[in-house]
């Protein structure tokens, strides 16, 4: 009755903003940093990307600028938490607030403007969607196979040990935070440039918070993030498809399901690992005593 192929194709695009933001946050959290400000970075990317796409007429430049802008605003968080040793939870919340507010102020001139249309890639899907999918094995390879990834994970598990081995904890983390910002920026720009084609304040509408949930759901693994993005995107897509097919669905209860699934996944992974499933140093401040 409902064609699974078309559901899957819808899912691919619906999951894209989440996938980018969550893959970025995955790297951040793997380095032992919890950045709750994803929403702020996404909306910054959404505005900056839109402005650039509008100015140049080229959506791809828009995505590049979105990545730079997301990275730039993430540096507020990076400097505060890495060099000024501020609490990550509070700084992340402040970043979310600040990003939403700042973009609302600076976005005024772009209200009602339409972004240039984007060429579609294979299967009538945006190239950016394919890029997001390609990032999954890349990040998996980086974390599991590359030397830098190994060091990054080591820092995330135990920053004191990594420091003792001579690794520059703060610099690795700063780089991770910047990468996370860039990815969140691209995810946000996907919403403004590819999905809506217009700028409106607050348009990310909570996607950044879902991305945080997704990283937890993934058990901090790249392919887990993909599975999570498809689950979260999938529940939305499926309930909308069921509605469109004329089948009554309990919308609110269904909307809760991915979050409950995330909690269950977290519990299962935690229980299996006999202790916290999260990277060992997640959210903890690192200060080298020697």
């Amino acid at each position: 009755m409902i064609d699974p192929v078309s559901v899957f194709l819808m899912l691919l695009s619906a999951a894209t903003p989440l996938l980018f933001a969550a893959l970025g946050e995955l790297i951040v959290e793997r380095s032992g940093v919890l950045n709750l400000g994803v929403e702020g970075m996404m909306i910054t990317g959404a505005l900056a990307g839109f402005a650039a796409a509008d100015a140049t007429g080229n959506p791809l430049i828009g995505f590049a600028v979105a990545a730079i802008a997301g990275c730039a605003i993430s540096m507020i968080f990076g400097v505060l938490t890495q060099f000024l040793l501020a609490n990550q939870v509070a700084t992340g919340l402040a970043l979310a607030l600040f990003g939403l507010g700042l973009t609302a102020l600076f976005g005024k001139p772009y209200e009602g403007v339409k972004a240039p249309s984007m060429a579609l890639g294979p299967l009538r899907i945006h190239w950016i969607v394919w890029l997001g999918l390609a990032m999954v094995p890349l990040i998996w390879w980086f974390l599991q196979r590359s030397r830098a990834g190994l060091i990054l994970r080591g820092i995330g598990e135990n920053h004191h040990a990594a420091h003792a081995l001579g690794h520059k904890v703060h610099l690795y983390r700063l780089a991770a935070i910047g990468f996370g910002g860039a990815m969140a920026g691209i995810g946000g720009a996907y919403i403004s440039i590819a999905t809506v084609l217009q700028w409106t304040e607050g348009m990310t509408a909570g996607a950044g918070w879902i991305a945080l949930a997704l990283v937890v759901f993934s058990g901090w693994r790249a392919f887990g993030v993909l599975a999570g993005a498809w689950l979260f995107g999938g529940v939305t897509v499926l309930q909308l498809r069921l509605q469109a097919a004329g089948i009554a669905v309990p919308v609110q209860l269904l909307a809760m399901a991915p979050y409950l699934a995330t909690i269950i996944a977290l519990v299962v992974i935690s229980a299996r690992r006999k202790g916290s499933a999260a990277p060992g140093s997640l959210g903890k401040i690192f200060h080298a005593t020697s």
Binding site: L34, L36, G40, I76, L80, L84, L85, A86, N87, V89, A90, T91, L93, A94, L95, A96, L97, F98, G99, L100, G101, L102, A104, L105, K108, E201, W209, I210, L212, A213, V216, Q252, L253, A255, M256, Y259, L260, T262, I263, L266, V267, S270, A271, R273, K274, G275, S276, A277, A278, L282, G283, H287, T289
Partner: protein
């Protein structure tokens, strides 16, 4: 080169100076920002920070500070206890919503009966609802080691969906012309949380907040549990050897902050908000985290932090009316204030020393 050296105890002067510095720096940056946007910088700062206190309609806005700050202070007090022990409940927003729903549920179930017991029963239900919602991350952490930060955050979204479901389903006002939202509890005297003294903005929630401030102060400075909390936060390993049971502490802190957030939700639902709607959670739970930090996790500081936060909200409204400043200004201000505070905080916790070459 410079290096940072941790201080063994934070000097009092920096403890007081950093929040003041943060506010001043925010005003300064804000003024520059307003100047760039073409507004009168000094006028804008005065409107936001001065007018709510001493401006033309200060007689109204001053009590409103209490209305707005009350729930923030109540929630932040509970959070601060956990934060001191290194237990991160960032799901107070969810506990606030659930407390509001369970509390309102008692009132709505009793409707239209009249009785002195209804409001107290709602208070108990609200606190219990928040407590139970807070105990979920506590138990999952104690049993399985699941991070309370992440579980409590997930439960915020679940609570938001439950609020929407309630507003459209079980709690929908049968006389509401098919519109979402429960009955208005302020129009049902037995269940209402009214302004106690006209014109002051003080309702039961304000009183509960004051009690919470004193109780938390006593708890952390005098009580054995408070000692354990501080020990667990500052030196977790030592605390464990000293006989502090971590799981009991987790349950205590999350339960306490959950119950206080639930109370705040109930007082809000029965008073200023008046009803459960799909948008019942307006962010008090998240803002309270900022308040807890602005107040440096101390009850007295939290009172000041809560009032300051309330000031920016109300000042923001006035600045919109008087100067057509966009509402987003307030978010930028709050974000900046917290950035500065967290940055300057370095000075309280560390000494900056020149590294010998």
């Amino acid at each position: 080169m410079w290096r940072l050296e941790p201080r063994s105890d934070a000097p009092l002067i920096w403890q007081f100076a950093t929040p003041v510095l943060a506010v001043l720096a925010t005003m300064l940056t804000g003024a520059v920002l307003f100047g760039l946007m073409g507004y009168d910088p000094f006028g804008a700062i005065r409107t936001i920070f001065w007018d709510p206190l001493f401006g033309a309609s200060a007689g109204y806005s001053r009590p409103q500070l209490l209305v707005k700050a009350g729930p923030l202070i109540l929630i932040a007090c509970g959070l601060a206890v956990g934060f001191r022990a290194g237990i991160w409940n960032i799901g107070a927003e969810g506990q606030f919503i659930i407390g509001g729903i369970t509390g309102a549920a008692v009132g709505l179930a009793a409707y239209p009966a009249e009785g002195w017991w209804i409001f107290p029963a709602m208070i108990v239900a609200g606190a219990a609802g928040g407590w139970a919602w807070g105990m979920i991350p506590a138990l999952l952490r104690n049993w399985f080691g699941a991070s309370e930060i992440l579980v409590s955050l997930m439960l915020v979204y679940v609570a938001e969906k439950i609020a929407a479901w309630m507003a459209f389903g079980p709690m929908r006002n049968p006389e509401g012309f098919g519109m979402p939202g429960s009955r208005n509890l302020t129009q049902y005297p037995s269940a209402a949380n009214p302004e106690l003294i006209a014109g002051t903005g003080i309702h039961w929630g304000t009183i509960a907040a004051l009690i919470a401030v004193v109780a938390v102060w006593v708890l952390i400075s005098r009580h054995l549990r408070g000692l354990q909390i501080r020990a667990a936060g500052e030196a977790p390993r030592a605390a464990r050897f000293g006989g502090v049971k971590p799981s009991a502490l987790v349950a205590f802190c999350l339960g306490l902050s959950g119950a206080l957030a639930g109370l705040a939700g109930l007082f809000e639902a029965a008073g200023p908000a008046g009803q459960i709607t799909d948008g019942f959670g307006v962010g008090y739970g998240f803002t309270a985290i900022i308040v807890a930090f602005l107040g440096r996790l101390h009850p007295v500081g939290i009172v000041l932090g809560g009032l300051l936060m309330a000031l920016t909200y109300i000042g923001g409204d006035i600045a919109q009316m008087m100067m057509q400043l966009p509402s987003a200004t307030v978010q930028v201000f709050q974000g900046m204030m917290l950035f500065y505070l967290l940055g300057f905080d370095l000075l309280t916790r560390y000494r900056i020393r020149r590294r010998p070459a």
